[in-house]
């Protein structure tokens, strides 16, 4: 017998889309002003039918997909969610539900458990009811807490997902205590990334470097205290450390997202890049989409790279960063991600950080995602 071991985490899919995300719908009862759904989501209709989603699941499994996230919008708004989970589970996926907790009733949780759902990622924005509700533009805290208790009662492992902005970064410690109290195993502090709605509201949302460092220190101290009871994820975001993120582990490398209308995307934000045509599972076989479509091949590997990426000794580590961010902040998706200190556009990121730091008091009202309503609720929040 050879020595027992493992490759720690499988990040090289050998060309397979190991991670599959199904955005079942763009509909959502919340109005978060950092939402990563497209700005024109309300114009996109014609969600895939149950049978069409099942075909996606079958085809993706054949391509080697293993981890599956049911996301949105709010996936609980799809009444066929339980049916899709059961089907995916039967195909051998590890099924995750990524939810706001709205509509996650005991009855549906029991059905989801029976259907074989493995894990739930629940978003909570603040440990304070009023602040949570103002941030998401809807009364939701009590429902989230009730859902949380019921999820634990049904024995699901939970990732508490906390999107971090200046409005809740001081609540990191309280959120960890909330996780500890409710028996949550994982807590992910997801520093907001600036695309779509979040980019519109960047100056209002972005915390300062000092706030981030303070929050990181709190997380580290809590890691000491809690040990293995709660696993915490906290990463200083790319805007602040001069290094780009290894976005999606490379374009078309291991990740595949299917949007509500069947558009196949190399990442959930990819539609921000103008000029790309996204193949649709209604028209094309998924195998072709993944392996051969021009869009999935466009930034795969490194042959598309320009300077400084192409000569950089870190290109295999960060893949040139994020294509969407390069497009949004420099106008060309082939440019180096401007979050990289080697990018000739690095000043764009530095000035965004400065603008957020120097902003005096509450600035412009937040643009909330539903019907472009202005978030006047933010006027009463502290920062």
């Amino acid at each position: 017998m050879t020595k027992a071991g493992s490759e720690p985490v499988l990040l090289d899919g050998g060309g397979n889309p190991l991670w599959l995300v199904l955005e079942l719908t763009y509909r959502c009862p919340l109005q978060c002003p950092w939402c990563n759904n497209p700005l024109n989501f309300s114009e996109i209709e014609q969600e895939l039918s149950t049978e069409e989603w099942k075909k996606v699941l079958r085809d993706a499994r054949k391509l080697g997909s293993l981890q599956l996230g049911f996301s949105g919008g709010e996936p609980m708004l799809r009444q066929d969610l339980e049916e899709l989970v059961e089907y995916a589970n039967g195909l051998g996926f590890y099924t995750n539900l990524i939810t706001s907790g709205m509509g996650l009733t005991k009855k549906r949780l029991i059905k989801l458990k029976e259907a074989g759902l493995k894990q739930i990622q629940l978003s909570v924005q603040h440990s304070d009811r009023a602040k949570n509700d103002a941030m998401v533009g809807a009364e939701s805290f009590d429902q989230k807490m009730a859902a949380c208790e019921e999820i634990k009662a049904q024995g699901f492992p939970v990732v508490l997902n906390v999107p971090i902005s200046r409005y809740n970064i001081d609540a990191v410690g309280d959120m960890i205590k909330l996780a500890e109290r409710t028996g949550i195993e994982f807590i992910e502090f997801a520093n907001i990334q600036y695309y779509n709605w979040a980019l519109l509201n960047r100056t209002e949302l972005m915390p300062t470097k000092e706030q981030l460092e303070e929050a990181e220190a709190v997380v580290n101290a809590e890691r000491e205290r809690l040990g293995k009871a709660v696993t915490m994820y906290f990463v200083i975001p790319d805007y602040f450390d001069g290094r780009p993120k290894a976005c999606m582990n490379g374009w078309g490398a291991i990740h595949l997202t299917i949007a509500p209308d069947g558009s196949a995307l190399p990442c959930q934000e990819a539609q921000v890049i103008e000029g790309l045509e996204f193949p649709n599972v209604r028209d094309k076989p998924l195998d072709w989409i993944w392996h051969e479509s021009p869009t999935f091949q466009k930034y795969r590997g490194d042959s598309w790279m320009k300077k400084p990426c192409i000569d950089c000794d870190e290109k295999e580590k960060d893949f040139g960063g994020c294509r969407c961010q390069a497009f949004l902040l420099t106008g060309d998706a082939e440019n180096t991600d401007p979050a990289c200190s080697k990018s000739p556009h690095f000043d764009v990121v530095l000035s965004a950080v400065e603008a957020a730091r120097d902003r005096k008091g509450p600035g412009s009202p937040m643009v909330m995602r539903n019907r472009h309503a202005l978030g006047n609720g933010y006027r009463n929040l502290a920062p």
């Binding site: 017998m1 050879t2 027992a4 490759e7 293993l66 894990q119």
Partner: protein, 96 residues
Amino acid sequence: MVQNAPFNLQDIPEINPVYMMQYEESQSAWVLLYPEGIIKLNDAAANILKLCTGDKNLEVIIAELKEMFNGADLEDDVYSFMEMALDKSWIRTRPS
């Protein structure tokens, strides 16, 4: 055998219910799936974990592995793997 170890031969290990172990054709390997990740196991690790069924203790598991591998001297390797697997929460144990 390692002294002051986290568990002893009478303990019964089982795969942490958060994890799911399956053979994956596209990887030609056994994998462990868990929230946020995928672990590719080598054959030796898979052979051990397949026996962590929650109904036999480590002593029995080692005996079965020895039988499978013609009496090979594998106690220490199995034990250190189990220690690592417990540390990473891939398995949990209860006393028999």
